[in-house]
């Protein structure tokens, strides 16, 4: 499969290495000299699996995902290696990266309302993603869009496709974002705190939806969150980050049952548990 031909349909092989990130360092210039917001991060995502990246605000988890997309904010530079299906992504031109974005690697963001353009119908916003990579008629794109909305379980999709983002609830908007990401059948889906802006019941629905869709499509996923409880539900592998640096990684089971790094233990202890109501809720000491 060549990245140069975006029409190629890739069939993910379970267990094959989809994404391999090695020694990724993201640097931003500041008035006080360059600052590394991601320091020497290495991880891999297998086809069909989910990697959870956990860390507090400023740990560099979002910058890692933006580096994969080639969408670092102005001034940011990434060094190291990011290979998707064996092809190096770093150092590609914006033009080449445009074919990767959406088609090979899709992203779902934290705040679904502000992530959708308020001036256009959700249908148009999904259609344009599909047509940017597959061309074809608007009619065809519209059918794909309605299908995608149905897949994320939006009732009455044929009518809702012409509605504007503000006419949907928070959870519905995130479903729309997921539909937008999945209509192109990407190899890798990066979900950056997709449930943080949602309440707990809606969060559970979205997590379930993501898991179902992943089972159906075999898409590899990077799930970025600050919430260890969420990670335990979705991820097979976990990477813990702090201040841009790799703290600990391993299978979810390892991390949860036998954390080695003191920071991971602190994170786990900070999880609220309804065991002893009088137990002190532990905070993170920086």
């Amino acid at each position: 499969m060549s990245l140069a031909s975006p029409r190629t349909i890739s069939i993910p092989v379970p267990g094959a290495t989809l994404l391999e990130v090695e020694h990724l360092t993201v640097t931003f210039p500041t008035s006080a000299g360059p600052v590394d917001v991601v320091k020497d991060a290495s991880f891999r995502v297998e086809s069909g699996d989910t990697l959870g990246i956990v860390g507090e605000s400023g740990s560099g988890k979002s910058m890692t995902s933006l580096a994969i997309m080639g969408l670092l904010p102005r001034g940011g530079t990434a060094t190291g290696s990011i290979r998707l299906n064996g092809h190096e992504l770093l150092g590609r031109s914006d033009r080449e990266m445009r074919r990767v974005r959406g088609d090979k690697v899709a992203m779902v963001f934290q705040d679904p309302l502000s992530s959708l353009n308020p001036y256009y119908t959700v249908g148009l916003q999904i259609e344009e993603a599909y047509r940017a990579h597959n061309g074809g008629s608007r009619k065809n794109a519209r059918n794909v869009t309605i299908e995608a909305l149905e897949r994320v379980r939006i009732a009455d999709a044929a009518r809702r496709v012409d509605h504007y983002p503000h006419q949907f609830s928070g959870g519905m908007r995130q479903r729309i974002m997921i539909a937008m990401a999945l209509c192109l059948e990407p190899d890798l889906l990066i979900a950056d705190e997709p449930t943080t802006a949602l309440d707990v019941t809606v969060q559970a629905q979205i997590l379930e939806l993501l898991a179902d869709l992943q089972r159906e499509t075999g898409t590899g996923m990077i799930f970025i969150t600050h919430d260890l409880a969420v990670v335990s539900q979705v991820a097979q592998d976990v990477l813990v980050m702090k201040d841009g640096a790799h703290v600990e990684s391993g299978t979810a089971e390892q991390i949860f049952s036998n954390p080695r790094a003191p920071y991971t233990r602190a994170l786990l202890e900070a999880l609220p548990r309804i065991v002893d109501p009088f137990d002190e809720l532990k905070g993170l000491s920086r």
Binding site: D94, R98, R99, R101, F109, S114, N117, Q125, E128, A132
Partner: protein, 331 residues
């Protein structure tokens, strides 16, 4: 939708009524006696009373206001008998200095102001939006600085100064343009265009400066929005991202501004018209103020207010089409 428009129209009518009342009050209490003005040097108290009666200024305030208001809808007659003066509806008053109805005076000068406003608007929208967009996309570069420095000049240099400078450069020094003359388009299209070019440029400069700064701010603001990141993450081409996703949110607020500014100009560009000797509503205003011709001043004041109120209404209705969030709330 119809209900929304109807509500807006009623509100606008109410606002106009209040404006007419306030304007009338100001001229009723704060201005000198028009009868004394008209009477001139060879004046007797009897003559003044006579004129007062003819003008109707001897009546109490409410009665005069009512006469003025009903005159707009049904026309009115000043004085009685053979000396009576007819003022047909819509009668905004009668100037005893020029012996013309205010409505006729305004109507005669409207075409110049409209021509001036439309030409300038085209120029300033092109320059303002283009410049703002350029400096936002090329933020921090030489382009950005060039546009912003020009904008600073446009905002800070007074209209009359730019007008005189331009006249000196283009007409006197370089001789690129003939001295502006008042010709109609039908008489001499080229001279007509050449005569309007400088006023258009002068007027557009100030507005373009303001618009380019506003557009720049809006575009930069929009470019930082999360949905722009989404658009890029979809793999859209950069020009599509800009055109489809950044332009509309950035330019919709400009519609409000444009409606107000354009309506304001239809009510006369006082300084520009005076400097270039264009016989528009603005020059009429300036002349009437100089001569203290109150009925005319009041007429143009009311016209300017009415234009802004109507523009406001049009913008509000247009907004319900331009911004889907407004549309659904009001429906």
């Amino acid at each position: 939708m119809t209900l929304v428009i109807l509500r807006r129209v009623l509100a606008a009518a109410g606002v106009l009524l209040l404006i007419s009342l306030f304007t009338f009050m100001i001229f009723f209490w704060l201005s000198p006696d028009p009868a004394v003005q008209i009477c001139g040097k060879t004046c007797t108290p009897e003559r003044i009373d006579q004129i007062r009666e003819q003008l109707g200024v001897n009546l109490p305030f409410w009665q005069q206001y009512w006469q003025f208001l009903s005159g707009i809808f049904t026309g009115r007659t000043y004085g009685e008998g053979a000396a009576a003066i007819e003022c047909a509806a819509p009668c905004l008053g009668f100037s005893f200095q020029t012996n013309e109805s205010v409505t006729d005076m305004i109507v005669a000068r409207m075409p110049v102001s409209v021509t001036l406003a439309i030409g300038a608007a085209v120029l300033w929208l092109l320059a303002g939006i283009g410049g703002g967009l350029l400096s936002a996309v090329k933020q921090g570069t030489g382009w950005d600085k060039a546009v912003m420095i020009s904008a600073l000049a446009g905002i800070s240099l007074p209209n009359y100064f730019v007008a005189l400078l331009l006249q000196y450069l283009l007409v006197v020094q370089l001789r690129w343009l003939p001295f502006p003359q008042s010709v109609t388009f039908a008489e001499d299209p080229l001279l007509w265009f050449q005569s309007y070019l400088m006023p258009w440029l002068v007027l557009a400069f100030g507005y373009a400066a303001m618009y380019s700064r506003i557009v720049r701010t809006n575009v930069i603001d929009t470019l930082g929005q999360n949905f722009m990141r989404t658009a890029k993450a979809k793999g859209l081409d950069a020009p599509v991202v800009l055109r489809r996703h950044a332009l509309r949110p950035s330019l919709t607020p400009v519609v409000t501004l444009f409606g107000m500014d354009f309506a304001g100009l239809l009510g006369g560009a006082l300084i520009t018209e005076t400097v270039f000797g264009l016989n528009g509503v603005g020059k009429l205003t300036a002349d009437s103020i100089a001569k203290n011709d109150q009925p005319v001043i009041m007429g143009v004041t009311l016209l300017a207010a009415a234009l802004v109120v109507v523009a406001n209404m049009v913008v509000d209705v247009a907004y319900t089409y331009l911004d889907p969030r407004v549309r659904v709330k009001s429906a």
